[in-house]
């Protein structure tokens, strides 16, 4: 007989099935195909459940809490690659059946939707009122409201529009014990009570199951322009970025795109403008005056511009087996980090696709290793070196994506952040049994 210590009671899956199915208002259970779809880093959930109402979500959480079952909240499952895989068998709780557009108030510029609502669908509704929710998550057609918040997804326009934390004005969650709690409200300015919405942003579902959210909307711009400037080298791009920073411009985004090692194509600075027609035309003209002699400027057609923005938004492609990193440094240090990347690429022989939200200091790197010899050791060492470069510049590096066989040996988040004990304490307080996405977040949270 085996005498290993049992730290937690075994999950009672039969009890859970009984709780969920033997009831008049049973949530829909997933099929085998769903088990594959909601796998996290290759690990399939034991069950997938699709509650269609808040009471159904509550019942799932009550039962999971009581039965010792771990829960990973999800939307469409497109962004589950973020974070560590759950350390134990789990139930995937997909919110996609809880997907109503609850309240769009065009004149008050607010939108309330259930967590499973698809971003593309919501944008299609609000565009009818000349508005948009100014976020650009990768693959919006497979991104839910809850996923947008939990994964803290952002795109190029974060430079002018901020991120989810700046747009979320109210949120309702079902807690680990099944109770419902909201914070914020439906008005754009509101300081009543703590702003708990901020805590749920980027928390990978570790603190509560988001069931409804309210956002500020913005007016769609009258005109847009996208300008691409191709520079021979990083020094040329750095000079241009510096001139853009001090020029009388209000870009909607400033992206720096490169492939390393930098062959012919070099570095591209892609700048977006949006707003009144006169402003957009003026700014595009101003930008062209900033371009250096060796640089090549292209003003893209609306169609080309849209395609470029979509490409910037959607990289890396889902399911692509690459190492995906997010680095954050001060905006003026993006160039210094790029130089460090060039050195790293020359050293390790990989190819890298780099895309920076240059105005924010956020750099995304996709690394394709030279070959698959000792992939684990190679990746781990490369991540350590690139992280050292980022922290040396006062920044951070997070591994956003890695193939499942490599991920377990990687330090996804870097050293413990300031306040980690507070973070752990918040997790313990709000989810004392560790039911929600446990082990998926920083510091083992």
């Amino acid at each position: 007989m085996n005498h290993e210590t049992v730290t937690e009671p075994a999950p009672d899956w039969a009890g859970l099935d009984n709780d969920l199915l033997n009831t008049a208002d049973a949530p829909r259970m997933g099929t085998d195909a769903d088990l594959a779809r909601f796998a996290v880093d290759g690990v399939r959930p034991e069950r997938v459940v699709f509650p269609g109402s808040v009471p159904q979500v509550q019942r799932v959480m009550e039962s999971a809490s009581a039965r010792g079952v771990a829960v990973v909240p999800a939307g469409f499952g497109a962004h589950l690659g973020l974070g560590a895989p759950p350390g134990r068998p789990f139930l995937a709780l997909s919110l996609v059946s809880l997907n109503a557009l609850v309240d769009h108030q065009p004149a008050n510029m607010t939108l309330t939707a259930e967590a499973g609502a698809c971003l593309t669908r919501l944008q299609a509704v609000v565009v009818g009122a000349g508005q948009w929710l100014p976020v650009e998550p990768p693959f919006p057609d497979r991104t839910s409201v809850g996923g947008l918040i939990s994964a803290d997804l952002s795109g190029p326009s974060r430079f002018s529009q901020g991120t989810v934390r700046d747009l979320l004005i109210g949120v309702t969650v079902v807690r680990a014990d099944g109770s419902v709690a909201k914070s914020g409200g439906r008005v754009v300015k509101n300081v009543a009570g703590y702003d708990l919405g901020k805590l749920y942003c980027g928390a990978l579902g570790t603190l509560g199951v988001i069931v409804e959210a309210t956002f500020k909307l913005r007016t769609l711009p009258e005109a847009r322009a996208v300008v691409r400037v191709t520079c021979g080298d990083m020094a040329g791009a750095e000079g241009l970025l510096g001139r853009i920073r001090t020029a009388p411009l209000e870009p909607s985004f400033i992206e720096l795109v490169a492939r390393l090692p930098a062959a012919g194509s070099g570095y591209a600075v892609v700048v977006g403008f949006a707003g009144a027609e006169e402003d957009v035309a003026d700014q595009a003209a101003t930008l062209s005056s900033l371009v250096g002699g060796d640089d090549r400027l292209e003003e893209l057609s609306e169609q080309e511009g849209g395609a470029v923005v979509a490409e910037l938004r959607d990289t890396p492609a889902l399911g692509e087996p690459v190492l995906g990193l997010k680095v954050s440094v001060l905006p003026a240090r993006v160039a210094a980090f790029m130089t460090a990347l060039e050195d790293e690429g020359a050293r390790n022989g990989s190819t890298m696709a780099v895309q920076a939200h240059a105005g924010n200091g956020i750099i995304r790197v996709r690394v394709s290793p030279p070959d698959d010899r000792d992939l684990r050791g190679w990746t781990s060492a490369a991540v350590d070196r690139m992280r050292a470069a980022a922290t040396g510049l006062g920044g951070t590096l997070v591994v956003e994506r890695a193939s499942p066989d490599v991920k377990p040996v990687l330090d996804l988040w870097g050293g413990p952040p300031e306040g980690l004990e507070l973070m752990k304490s918040i997790k313990r307080t709000l989810d004392p049994k560790g039911v929600l996405s446990s082990g998926r977040f920083i510091g083992g949270i």
Binding site: A107, S183, V191, D195, A276, W413, G419
Partner: protein, 475 residues
């Protein structure tokens, strides 16, 4: 609760000039801008550094003494009123701008730095700090962080929480943590985000990292005159719906207009029912046409006159009048209570009507000067605190106005905070379960409930009876 021994220990940390314990000096600290309730601390300490704050809080932890942080005391919800907190920690001597980084558009400041100083320091670099509460010449950044303060220009650019990248927080046990940072997207829970607006209940913020923005290339500032508040409110709804986002969209009603005009002689039409101040900013090229559209919306909603500021001098004068409106109210009554509700902008005409009705029902004079574009109303209830019965009517009428805001889909506070003032109203918008999560989060930061106790949550009322008015000034 404060012993001689504790006073000596505080003096050991801060020096003799860092500890105020004389009754006459303490009376200065008996309220903030919310004057309906007063309570004097037993001792005020004036630390000069994060280390001194940490040392004080370690001592208070050891002694089990509650405390309350205070900036410059311009708050409007009694957020820094000492209720069951004998020690007040005033941050006014921590007033240095530590770093200005124009290339990255960051400023690092101590929390006692006055809001307006940041923009003044950033101006030579063509930058400014956007949130601009009306009290910006006096209010501190630490107070702004605590209350998540707004201001007229937050309509387009967002409130304090959208402009703070990091804080240094001294926890109630004296531990120092740095939340957020100079860079974006710091890994982990957004503890910074939940600390901003926590009304000084998580600890004491001693430093903040602020985002700076380029100063707009141009401004277009319009003054639109209406016969009635209803006309002005309809124009606000029209402007919001037009898709143009003004930098600021402010309304003043007749009562306020007249007081401001008498005080500052700007040239407001004294007979008008209401005026709107509409400010557009941004690149020069598009401003003229946008101003034309604003003009059309105002005219189609019955504006009788529209003036445009001719130059920066006129624009500055106009904003001075708006931001000093509270100062002009002394002409109307010895005291005033500034309320802070929110409604969806489309409901402004209704809430204005209801406020007028409430004023009539309670026999009170109520003026309105507020951030119309985001539906953040500031009814100003005039009274004389020597008239106890009238003072009680002010409290009752204020609460009724907030109830109406909630009934119209709004909130209890847009930028002043719950403080002590609105504790009893929290159940209007939050269930016990909602508040329980918030209190649990609070307990993570302040497990012993010693940091600014008896604020925000109605359970606090069980510990200290909050009566209104708490204590009257001498009759």
């Amino acid at each position: 609760m404060i012993t001689e021994r504790l006073l000596r220990a505080l003096r050991d940390i801060l020096g003799g000039d860092g500890v105020v314990s004389h009754a006459t000096e303490l009376s200065v600290y008996d309220c903030d801008g919310y004057t309906l309730e007063k309570s004097t601390p037993e001792v005020v300490v004036l630390p000069r550094s994060t280390e001194e704050v940490a040392a004080v809080l370690k001592l208070l932890k050891h002694e089990g003494v509650p405390f309350v942080p205070r900036g410059t005391g311009t708050g409007l919800s009694g957020g820094c009123l000492p209720l069951g907190a004998p020690v007040m920690v005033s941050l006014t001597r921590m007033n240095r701008i530590l770093e200005l980084d124009p290339a990255n558009r960051r400023a690092v400041v101590e929390s006692g730095v006055v809001n307006a100083w940041v923009s003044r320091a950033a101006k030579p670099h063509g930058l400014h700090y956007v949130p601009d509460p009306s009290s910006q010449m006096a209010c501190s950044i630490g107070g702004n962080v605590a209350e998540n303060s707004g201001g007229p220009h937050t309509l387009k650019y967002g409130v304090t929480t959208n402009h703070v990248l990091g804080v240094t927080l001294v926890l109630p046990d004296g531990e120092v943590v740095r939340l957020g940072g100079m860079t974006e997207d710091t890994p982990g829970y957004d503890l910074l985000g939940v600390t901003v607006g926590s009304e000084g209940t998580f600890g004491i913020v001693t430093e903040a990292i602020l985002k700076l923005y380029p100063r707009p290339q141009g401004y277009k500032t319009l003054l639109a005159v209406f016969d009635s508040v209803a006309g002005g409110s309809a124009a606000v709804a029209g402007i919001v719906a037009s898709g143009i986002v003004p930098a600021a969209l402010e309304m003043l009603d007749r009562l306020i207009l007249q007081a401001v005009e008498d005080a500052f002689h700007f040239g407001f039409p004294r007979e008008a029912g209401a005026v709107l101040i509409v400010e557009l900013d941004g690149l020069e090229a598009g401003l003229e046409r946008a101003a034309g559209r604003i003009r059309e919306v105002c005219e189609s909603n019955g504006a009788t006159e529209i003036r445009v500021a001719r130059d920066d001098g006129e624009r500055d004068a106009l904003w001075k009048c708006r931001k000093r409106a509270f100062g002009a109210l002394g002409r109307l009554a010895p005291n005033f209570c500034c309320q802070d509700g929110v409604v969806p902008p489309t409901r402004l005409p209704e809430i204005m009507e209801r406020i007028a009705d409430i004023g009539e029902a309670y026999d009170l004079r109520i003026g309105n000067v507020f951030h119309a574009g985001d539906g953040n109303i500031h009814p100003i209830l005039l009274y004389d605190e020597r008239d106890r019965e009238q003072t009680e009517r002010v409290v009752a009428a204020g609460r009724e106005i907030l109830r109406e805001c909630v009934a119209l889909g709004g909130s209890l506070t847009g930028e002043h905070g719950i403080g002590v003032e609105k504790v009893a109203l929290m159940p209007l918008i939050f269930t016990p379960d909602d508040m329980s999560v918030m209190e649990q989060v609070r307990s993570v930061f302040d497990p012993e409930d010693r940091c600014n106790p008896n604020k925000i949550f109605p359970s606090a009322e069980q510990h200290v009876e909050v009566r209104s008015p708490r204590r009257q000034a001498a009759m």
